[in-house]
Amino acid sequence: MLTADNITFRVGNKPLLVDVSVSFAPAKLHLIVGPNGAGKSTLIKVLARLLRPHAGRIEYGGIDVGQVSEAELARRRAVLSQAVEVAFPLTVRELVMMGRYPHFAGRPGPADEKIIDEVMAHFDVTEFSNRQYQTLSGGERQRVNFARVLAQLWVDGSSCRYLFLDEPLTFLDIRHQIDFMKKIREFAAAADVVTVGVVHDLNLAARFADHIVLLSEARIVASGTPSEVLTTERIHSVFGVNPTLVPSGDSGLHLIFD
């Protein structure tokens, strides 16, 4: 369980998060949505402890995350970002292996190599093993990064693992976006994983999320299931657009915008 209590974060005088409190349960996919500038990215970074809040507490499984060391945290928490740029020639395998860095001191062991093999196979990037990362397309790169992130969170029998997704779909085409979301959902379903992500596309959120948090102007406006949160009035007041809601399949939801 990941809990955030009364989080406030400022840059200079401008508040980016005000009094944000929310809990994220394991085995579910939690997605944060909201208009530009709402504070979504900031919230993810605070939850992942890249940023320290000016007020409030974040707890991972009841333990104040401020007390945990960087190295220890890196073994249980990973973040998949929008894009990763590399300034030097790096092979795909070397990059994926970085996911294992928190887990070995000097050189990777045979166990680490095996994990890399498995994770690369899972994301279908084994054929890119010796290719330069910079020569890959956007979609291919994100698959590689996802492989790296998963390698970082590879199950080791210890406590809960935390996966954060900071707008990972931005540079992907529609096929890859859906493909990714499916894989993320698969991973999020594990009993000892807490998955929290930020997406822009409300339809994707509606389709894949178990729990949606709607942020606007540094505050939480609503938190609940997709149908609870994504109502016409709310979307209108927060995003300024008029959706038509169309139910689909098993308690699914489609939003159509004029």
């Binding site: 945290l73 073994r75 973040v79 970002s81 070397e94 970085m98």
Partner: protein, 344 residues
């Protein structure tokens, strides 16, 4: 072991062999050429019970040998300094000189030349290197201090680069001012020091630089994995458990010490720190453990070759070594820039 790791090991081994060959050439050739027999005799004369060394043997033992070895060590220092800077700044066009270390060291030396004459400071062998080292440390610390953001005390890499540029400009104009007010002989010393030379090599210098390069390289190797993580970005590195701020301080300090100590004994030598990591990355990829070890060896080799050219081309006179490294470094650098295969 992966194919890449295997080829890196072969490469490092080959580099060791090349370095030793170049060292041998450096000991043999110069204004005076020594044959292998003469070198052996000179070394043997050091053993107790053998006759005192002749003048030629003393030249070999007291001038040539320390110079050849110091050249290796300084080359290694500059090479490793370059790799560390490029890893830290995530930018392949970066040199130790960019964070102010070289210009600070040069300023320290210039100050020593000018004030030393006025205040008659004890002209011991150490005064100059200490002054240069102090200058390098002050300028680098200044860069780091000025580059910190007011909010969270962190220093982003872009800020470091820009502040480094500004501080460099400051120190270079300070050196210009010192040259201006200096009396003629001192002004000449300043100019020659800025071009770099190994003619002042001594065993004491070898001792000190050995300590600095070995300690520096060992520390750097320990942080090689973290530097690798830094390649994918400061944020990503933090997510992988790296304390980025602390890493920056440590690597920057190591860089300052290594480069300032080397510069203190030889004057400013440019381009080695810039092109050595490039060459290595081209042939073996960007893993920092490989790069750090490889750049020590490659830097040593390249500087020794440059010194051979400096000593042989106009013998018995010598060219300042900075001229040779620039003359070779600039075309190599332009060539590297134009290779399409090498992706930045």
């Amino acid at each position: 072991m992966t194919k890449q790791n295997r080829s890196r090991r072969v490469l490092l081994f080959a580099l060791v062999v090349v370095t030793l060959l170049v060292l041998a050439a450096s000991i043999r050739f110069g204004a005076i050429d020594f044959s292998t027999v003469e070198i052996t005799r000179a070394l043997v004369s050091l053993l107790p019970g053998h006759p005192e060394p002749t003048l030629d043997q003393r030249i070999l033992l007291e001038l040539r040998l320390p110079r050849a070895i110091l050249c290796l060590l300084v080359g290694a220092s500059l090479g490793v300094g370059g790799t560390l800077m490029q890893a830290l700044f995530r930018n392949p066009i970066v040199e130790p000189g960019l964070v102010g270390t070289s210009s600070g060291a040069a300023f320290g030396a210039a100050l020593f030349f000018v004030l030393g004459g006025v205040l008659h400071i004890g002209a011991s062998l150490w005064s100059l290197p200490i002054a240069a080292c102090a200058g390098g440390v002050v300028s680098t610390y200044l860069v780091f201090l000025l580059a910190r953001s007011r909010e969270d005390g962190r220093a982003s890499i872009v800020m470091l680069l820009l502040t480094g540029l500004a501080v460099n400009a400051l120190f270079m104009s300070a050196i210009g001012f010192l040259s201006y007010i200096a009396r003629d002989p001192q002004a000449r010393s300043i100019t020659f020091w800025s071009l770099g030379t190994l003619s002042g090599a001594s065993w004491k210098a070898v001792e000190i630089v050995t300590v600095s390069i070995i300690a520096g390289t060992l520390i750097a190797l320990r942080y090689a994995k973290q530097l690798n993580a830094l390649m994918i970005g400061e944020e990503e590195a933090t997510y992988l458990g790296v304390n980025v701020n602390r890493l920056k301080w440590i690597i920057l300090s190591v860089n300052v010490v290594i480069v300032a100590v080397a510069t203190a004994f030889t004057g400013v030598i440019s381009f080695v720190g810039l092109i050595v990591p490039h060459i290595l990355r081209m042939i073996g990829g960007a893993d920092n453990r490989f790069l750090i070890a490889g750049s020590a060896l490659t830097g040593a080799t390249l500087l020794t070759l440059a010194d051979l050219i400096a000593r042989l081309s106009v013998r018995p006179a010598e060219l300042p070594i900075g001229i040779v490294t620039s003359a070779v470094g600039v075309p190599v650098f332009i060539f590297l820039l134009r290779r399409r295969q090498y992706v930045f």
